[in-house]
Symmetry: C2
Subunit: 518 residues, 2 copies
Amino acid sequence: MHNEAGREIPLHIDGLGSLTPYHKKQVNGQYKNTERLKDRQQNPAKNKVIASIEAAIKATGLRDGMTISFHHHFRNGDYIVNMVIDKIAEMGIRDLVLAASSLTDIHAPLVKHVQNGVIRRIETSGLRGELAQAYSHGLMDIPVVINSHGGRARAIASGECPIDVAFLGVPSCDPYGNANGYSRGNAAASACGSLGYAKVDAQHANRVVMITDNLVPYPNVPFGIPESQVDYVVVVDCIGDPKGIVSGATRYTSNPKDLLIARYAADVIEASGYFLDGFSLQTGSGGASLATTRFLRDKMLAHNVKASFALGGITQQIVELHEEGLIHRLLDVQSFDLKAVESLKNNRFHHQIDAEYYASPDNEGCAAHQLDVVVLSALEIDLDFNVNVITGSDGVIRGASGGHCDTAAGASASIIVAPLIRGRMPTILDKVNTIITPGHTVDVLVTDQGIAVNPMRDDLLHNLKAAKLPVVTIEELKEKATRIVGNPEPIQWEDKIVGVVKYRDGSVIDVIRQVKNK
Amino acid sequence: MHNEAGREIPLHIDGLGSLTPYHKKQVNGQYKNTERLKDRQQNPAKNKVIASIEAAIKATGLRDGMTISFHHHFRNGDYIVNMVIDKIAEMGIRDLVLAASSLTDIHAPLVKHVQNGVIRRIETSGLRGELAQAYSHGLMDIPVVINSHGGRARAIASGECPIDVAFLGVPSCDPYGNANGYSRGNAAASACGSLGYAKVDAQHANRVVMITDNLVPYPNVPFGIPESQVDYVVVVDCIGDPKGIVSGATRYTSNPKDLLIARYAADVIEASGYFLDGFSLQTGSGGASLATTRFLRDKMLAHNVKASFALGGITQQIVELHEEGLIHRLLDVQSFDLKAVESLKNNRFHHQIDAEYYASPDNEGCAAHQLDVVVLSALEIDLDFNVNVITGSDGVIRGASGGHCDTAAGASASIIVAPLIRGRMPTILDKVNTIITPGHTVDVLVTDQGIAVNPMRDDLLHNLKAAKLPVVTIEELKEKATRIVGNPEPIQWEDKIVGVVKYRDGSVIDVIRQVKNK
């Protein structure tokens, strides 16, 4: 037959199979887009801007029973989740699965949306505030599923958690969808830096809606999320509260207990055997963890040891070490403060990575598996070194799984920093109330009252003792705490399961039950 | 039941379905990798380096009938394709589909591998030299499939062309697979700049093997290809001939005919109506196309017009305009010379993009669809404005589809630059021998003897006439050529189809037949 270019085309060729003849295609009544406009953002064929959240929801074809997703780079300053789900509720769409990378206090309005069936169930890494309270008190029908950051990326990339529509708030976006965590011109407005968690959603979701308050000229390059993954762009008045999105500067702790823990943690790293030129590290944004970075700096300078890379959530403290030449590369999945945002924008070797690259256990290899040392916090740790970072001492959900179990498993030495006693509660228990990270991946516990090494790690025990660090058994640390504050009264649980904690491979490592009302 | 963290876990929860209990996992006889080595590249659990090409081929599970892929960023300096396929042949694996992004003279050894059945058939964008001769003379059983760059990316991303194993040569790679088109330290060795075509293969292939002669410390950041997509890394003595990979500097033509065409092309752009502040452009690396950039520069300075972006294959000429502030952003799918490589490495707004982002017609929107103006070359053009860039005037394959039809369709004004006569052959024919780009996406033909506008584009015709440019009909241009060199003798074809030309959407726009031996 003749195709529409006038050529004689066979419909089948041996070895190639069936062939489709060429057809001319018209778009908007013409063969190509020939509009000629000074402001390309005004050219309807060259942009994806849609009038409103409601119009975007309609355009995506969102309907009852589907799965929607959000990222948590705006932390407690996020306006996006509530804005979108309020609108979905208003439109009468129901029975959705909400697959957020994390949720926090500002998302309290979700309580009503879960209870009235707009949201059937939630997957998240963290849960705090009223929503967490509602779950822990048994007010929801279906348990919340808690994922690690690596576990969520794995589930999305593998198709285990297929996302129908991702609604992604972004601090800058062009009309075709190239998006960034910082702005041109208006840098401080609602910058969040890395879009590491959102990148996974953009890549794998069936429909992707960008929501921004800062439409910038095409092309918004370099981009965190590319136009080729974006269906619609919605411009709103405000995507979030800058004060809640990032802190202006992360301050060092002046708490003497934290400083003592940090000093010990740096000593542990120095003595561990991993403190070699080219070592790698991840430290969190908690007080003791941040301060560890400071003490480590002195040791790096003294011994002329430089780190090959720092991973994970990046803070001002880590950026300063990078700029000083002490850490060669920064792999940033989440920027914790404005200094980190500025650095991501300006420092060539401060690189934005997605959560799959960061910590997925199932791809061809993630950066967490390259870690030598990670410093992690804990709400509770038990005699088997299992760690809880999700439920408080009252059994109520108030934390986040995050990258805790991912980096503990990946790092050659995982170091938990925690005070021996918090308020009147001991940190070490016979059994933690909820396991997030299994004990066999946890190597050292550093408290203000001494250091305990997982008995599986003879090598570390030997090294830390040789360095004359105050090493005791974890049982001894527990006894010390008990002598001061006694044994805590066990939490009273109902039978109802309100939360399911998934390990990074998707298996269930623990469940969270309803707390008894006192 | 109790999971291996000792917790009581239900195997089913209403609303969540069945659950998998957590199991501890051992890797290499231990629960985590705790090796402590100064040189992390020596740590077998933290690298993917495999001893040889042969070992990598075995590890990927490559077997008869599978599809393998390669990129063409090393152009005529590429050692990878021959190195790998010689080894595959030696190992007795047969009947493979070779899906290369492009092939050229250096790949002549493929002739024997297709003829002896190691390679069953080939998909590529370009074909030159002995391999092209062999196809055109009917020496192969199954026709070669010619794809455009956007069409190939679409086919791979959509699963229409599933790749079993991608073998990707890279100028720098760390032991975990983070790869780049340039080197640290050893910048000039075999740098190719952007890995735009290879990125698509790395993302979608089932198994990915990186082949490098420059193993650098982890993490090789920023990366063109991330570790999370890489299975194996092989270190070889030499991946290519630097002289064939990029030219040291792209020189401006001094050919007066090319300069005249370039001057007209710049005049056409200026008069087109698209020459507004913020316009966008793509120009190729051919003599007239490059020179167009130079003449355009004068006009941009004179009218204070700046381009928002330049797209595609990036040359020194485009980089210089970027560094001068005349082009805000560079979107680089392929770096044509060392200056472009250096710029990609050093200029923050010179951004590496993949071929899907560049030109795929089927994703959520590609950069080619944002183009205002593209300047393209042609071997032949016909009275319907159809363009041939694949077969020579003797009918033999000697070119590449490239991004020709992608950008012609995407750009608001596509401008073909070509001399009216090449040697003793006219460029304009009644019907081109092979259609790569359909005429309805081609807007203007600029020759040294005058300018023709596609009658579909009244608007352009009006504008160019108003600017007093030497506009005539394409029939008049053809007659002019005929008066000088007469009508060429038609090519004598056999019936046998030796090539199938796919349009960017995967449909067949033309076929190439065997040329008659004279």
